[in-house]
């Protein structure tokens, strides 16, 4: 069975926001109100001149053990067979428990367009199912987002996942995220 996931290469990301723009346009988010499915905050460490900047693209982790699915009363939050966590907008009543329960700040409330909680869908219905890449992955100029079957060693995503080079955020929470990060390391 396919297990969709994403690898984020923190060594390449420059926080250009192309992925954010692509997602906003592709998925009709409430970007005008600052509510989006993906964001790229910048973290800066150190004091001049020993400084390091990391841009960390964040989105739904499509966890294998998703806390949002566990807490949803109506079953609106669910996980597909191929590992994509989705929201059934018709069943969602907007109690926002999932928004609170998500450790990755991945969800937002769409009171206007969908009248439900919304989040990254890996562009499942609108792209992946048609054999295309999610909008953010396709547009990324630095190849900082890599999408595919994490269990398939012949795919780049699978290889990176299996190599152990890419790691999840907050593994201590037991959510088993399927978005894994290749860390940035500096030697200088």
């Amino acid at each position: 069975m396919v297990r969709y996931g994403m690898i984020i290469d923190l060594r390449s990301c420059i926080g250009c926001g192309a992925c954010v723009a692509a997602c906003d346009m592709e998925n009709d988010t409430l970007w005008e109100e600052g509510k989006r499915r993906t964001e790229v905050p910048k973290l800066l460490f150190g004091t001049y001149p020993t400084v390091m900047a990391v841009f960390v693209p964040r989105l739904c982790m499509h966890c294998d053990n998703p806390p949002c699915v566990a807490v949803c009363p109506t079953g609106a939050s669910y996980k597909t067979e191929d590992g994509v966590v989705l929201v059934n907008y018709d069943l969602c009543i907007g109690c926002k428990y999932c928004v609170v329960a998500c450790p990755y700040d991945a969800r937002y409330v769409d009171e206007k367009k969908r009248r439900a909680v919304d989040k990254c869908t890996f562009c499942y219905e609108n792209r992946v199912k048609q054999g295309r890449l999610p909008a953010c992955v396709e547009t990324c100029v630095g190849h900082a987002r890599i999408f595919g079957d994490l269990d398939d060693p012949s795919s780049e995503a699978g290889r990176l996942a299996m190599s152990g080079l890419a790691r999840p955020l907050r593994p201590d929470l037991g959510t088993k995220p399927k978005v894994l990060y290749i860390p940035k390391v500096k030697f200088e």
Partner: protein
């Protein structure tokens, strides 16, 4: 159903089977499906896609525009475009927001009260016929009076770049020589000139580095990942993934510096010293590529007192010949007869019946470099000497290594020599037109520059002012004197397309004066920007999504190719594409035939044919005529949007190995004969020394206390001022993208915190602007930085006004500083936009 992982091998197999050129190399894991397949699926959901070319910046990446229910929904990258190869940046994605921006110019307008220039008052909306008739009437007045040359036609990067022929044709048709694209003195010319005298070409679309195959990359005076030219950024990212070591010299940690292995926070304007010290280390350590220097450069040229011992023209080739010392034969010979020309040493040379002592240029330069030690550079650049030494050694010992050939640098009086040093260092490690090194783009091979006609205002003005290089590139700054003082002769009418000179030219006050002085101002544009507010007639242009594009050669790409754009939807407002506006004006002036003749000459199609095709299909007709003239399959072109005509493997590694360069000697000019020519006429100057030497920036050592070096640059969410009024980009922009960067320790001294309002006063113009502070550890204490695109003052740009930003054009002086010091760089048009100190205070 296409699978999600297509390896490169699989694709090439499939591609070969499909007859597609195997040269299109998608990044791994990308799904390549023809536009037809995508189109079929899209049609199933009522969506249609057309290929187009993005106009959010000069790179003109290939895009696919998806339309559903008559609305543009999404812009996707076009994987067939050889320069952008399936990637689009945030600006490209936000084209949709540009199209539907309610702030856009929606209909032609005329204003008769010139006193209201600079405001939005007094405009009345008119229909196109009225607007075009009035414009034609005005132009006719001057043309008929024999004063066509008092009409200036100009703009920013749009008519300076790919649309140049279409605008120049109009200028030619009405008989004015004064077509001015403003970028050269404010952007690329110093870098372009330096490279052109070294390797023959140097413009943006003509040179680049083969990042992805390089093992060591040094970037200076450029934010190549962050200002995001997609054709560069994706290759640069590949380099990183392939394990290249990246070193970035920048006073602040730009996006490029953020992903570099080493960030060198160099003192602004002192990169030249760093490079000279690098050369010192490389020469001392014999890390240079001897073979390359001997065979493919003129480094062995014998000099005496800094000038060639003998220099003459080869009658057959038209190239310059010179003497070198052949170590095998033990004497001086013409360079193409030498078996092993010496790079070092001093030799007795027989010439004109006498014997003189001569040294190869390389020896000459090596001696000069003796003093330019890392210790010397360390004090100037404020970089530890060990770091300079280490980077120099790594650069010299790694093959292939490359120093990025640069982009925008109108910043210092030493800009030209800085890029000369970059070119020389690249030549020293022998990376010219090699994998992983400096390369010519497809468009750059065989590019021949032309001199500007003498009849132009700027050529005459620069000649008068004693400019050394006065007819190579337009100089918009000259037009101020022409407009305001009639010097060298009056300019009375300005017809602008895609220009925002109030915000982009130095000294906004002066340009306000100039725009008020003109008899007539006509503006073709999409947005009501600060400059359009000075117009008497506003002719609203279409966005790139609402019109067809002609056929263009692809710039910025290693593969040779052509690309075009198709109209996605009909104009949503009462606008016309610029080309149509120009044709209709030409028609009204009885110059339609002349227009197409001039245009045809520039794009390689017969004038009458061009006109006939245009009359049938509009701009699409021009494209069809071009395709036919070039022998390109039209359906293929339209189905893919971009075609590769020659893959890079067929082009790279040829210059100067199999084809001579368009330099005087045909070789890489380590010692610049062009600069020698200038020196012979004008006498010696370190600015045009045929071999680089140290030239300090004018502002060197003057920062301190609350006086800072001013630096500016771009961001991934802006291009120039035309991107600031875009809802999507504005919503992605972070404070650092529009605020004034101040070092944390300095900010503490000034009592400034992030978000505080600050006053920035230019010591050069005396003007003060207000901005918001971004306090960070990621910038030098003596430097402030701000992204250049913002600071819009037009109240009609509502999104831009909400963000604010800094109006940089008020801080840059044009000819003289506020204290009366000369700010003119008369070597070549170079505005010196960072030879400016600013005082920063809490507001």
């Amino acid at each position: 159903m296409a699978s999600l992982s297509l390896t490169r091998r699989d694709f090439l197999k499939a591609a070969a089977a499909a007859g597609v050129l195997a040269s299109i190399r998608p990044p791994e894991d990308i799904v390549i499906r023809t536009l037809k397949e995508v189109g079929a699926e899209a049609a199933a959901i009522g969506e249609c896609s057309v290929p187009a070319l993005c106009r959010m910046c000069v790179n003109s990446c290939g895009i696919i525009v998806r339309v559903r229910d008559g609305r543009v929904r999404k812009i996707d990258p076009n994987p067939f475009h050889p320069a952008s190869k399936g990637h689009i940046c945030a600006r490209g994605q936000s084209g949709v927001a540009r199209l539907y921006n309610p702030d856009r110019l929606k209909r032609p307008m005329i204003r008769r009260d010139k006193a209201k220039r600079g405001t939005w008052e007094g405009f009345e909306a008119v229909d196109w016929d009225t607007a075009l008739d009035e414009t034609a009437r005005i132009l006719k007045k001057y043309i008929d009076a024999g004063e066509a040359k008092s009409i200036m036609i100009g703009g920013g990067w749009l008519p300076c770049g790919v649309y140049k022929p279409y605008v120049v044709a109009f200028a030619k048709a009405i008989g004015t020589p004064n077509f001015v694209g403003s970028p050269p003195p404010l952007c690329f010319f110093p870098k372009a000139f330096a490279w052109a005298v070294t390797v023959g070409v140097g413009g943006h679309p003509h040179i680049t580095a083969d990042f992805e195959n390089s093992k060591y990359i040094v970037v200076l005076r450029r934010n190549l990942a962050g200002s995001l030219g997609v054709p560069y950024a994706w290759r640069f990212a590949r380099a990183k993934r392939n394990g290249a070591k990246i070193v970035v010299l920048d006073p602040r940690m730009s996006e490029t510096a953020a992903i570099a292995d080493v960030w060198v926070p160099i003192r602004p304007g002192t990169d030249l010293a760093f490079l000279l010290a690098m050369a010192h280390v490389i020469v001392k350590g014999k890390l240079y590529d001897e073979h390359f220097l001997k065979r493919y450069t003129n480094a062995p040229i014998l000099l005496r007192d800094g000038k060639p011992v003998k220099l003459w023209v080869d009658e057959e080739t038209g190239k310059m010949k010179y003497l070198v010392y052949d170590k095998v034969r033990g004497k001086a010979v013409p360079h193409d007869e030498a078996i092993d020309p010496a790079l070092l040493g001093e030799f007795d040379v027989e010439v004109d019946g006498g014997v003189v002592k001569a040294k190869p240029a390389f020896q000459y330069f090596a001696e000069r470099l003796e003093g330019f030690t890392p210790e010397w550079a360390s004090k100037i650049c404020d970089v530890p000497a060990e770091l300079i030494t280490r980077i120099a050694r790594e650069f010299g010992a790694t093959r292939p290594a490359v120093i990025d050939p640069g982009w925008h640098d109108p910043k210092y009086s030493n800009s030209v020599q800085t890029w000369r040093m970059v070119a020389i260092l690249n030549a020293m490690v022998g990376n010219i037109d090699k994998a992983g090194g400096f390369v010519f783009t497809a468009a750059g091979r065989g590019f021949k520059s032309k001199s500007l006609p003498e009849a132009r205002v700027d050529v005459q003005w620069m000649k008068k002012k004693g400019y050394v290089v006065y007819n190579a590139q337009p100089n918009i700054l000259a037009y101020y004197d022409a407009i305001v003082k009639g010097d060298p002769y009056p300019i009375r009418v300005a017809m602008l397309t895609g220009a925002n000179w109030i915000r982009t030219l130095p000294d906004a006050k002066k340009w306000d004066e100039a725009f008020r002085k003109l008899d007539h101002v006509i503006a073709i544009d999409i947005m009501p920007n600060d400059t359009v507010a000075y117009a008497d007639i506003v002719l609203p242009d279409c966005t790139y999504l609402e019109r067809d594009d002609p056929l263009f050669g692809v710039g910025f790409s290693l593969d040779a190719g052509v690309a075009t754009g198709m109209k996605a939807i009909d104009p949503i407002y009462d606008t016309k594409p610029m080309i149509e506006i120009l044709v209709e004006l030409a028609d009204r002036l009885g110059k339609k035939d002349a227009y197409f003749k001039a245009l045809g000459a520039m794009i390689g199609v017969e004038g009458a044919t061009l006109k006939a095709y245009y009359e049938k299909e509009g701009i699409a007709g021009i494209r069809r005529a071009q395709a036919e003239a070039k022998g390109i399959k039209y359906d293929d072109l339209l189905s893919k949007g971009a075609l590769v005509l020659k893959p890079k493997e067929m082009l790279m590694g040829t210059m100067p190995y199999r084809k001579p360069l368009s330099t005087p000697s045909g070789k890489v000019e380590f010692y610049s004969l062009k600069l020698l020519g200038i020196m012979s006429k004008k006498g010696y100057s370190e600015h045009w020394d045929p071999l680089p030497t140290w030239v300090p920036p004018k502002v060197y050592g003057k920062a301190g206390g609350n006086v800072f070096y001013l630096t500016y640059g771009r961001s991934p969410v802006t291009t120039h001022t035309h991107t600031v009024d875009n809802k999507l980009l504005a919503s992605i922009a972070r404070l650092e993208h529009y605020a004034v960067w101040i070092n944390a320790a300095k900010a503490r001294e000034l009592g400034v915190k992030t978000g505080d309002k600050v006053k920035v006063t230019s010591l050069a113009t005396g003007e003060t602007v207000e901005g918001v502070a971004y306090v960070t550890e990621a910038i030098r204490p003596d430097t402030v930085f701000v992204v250049s695109a913002w600071g819009a003052e037009s109240e009609k740009l509502r999104v831009a006004r909400r963000i604010g930003g800094v109006a940089l054009s008020k801080l840059w002086p044009m000819f003289k500083t506020a204290e009366g010091e000369d700010h003119l760089y008369t070597f070549l048009p170079n505005a010196m936009l960072q030879e400016v100190l600013v005082r920063v205070e809490k507001a």
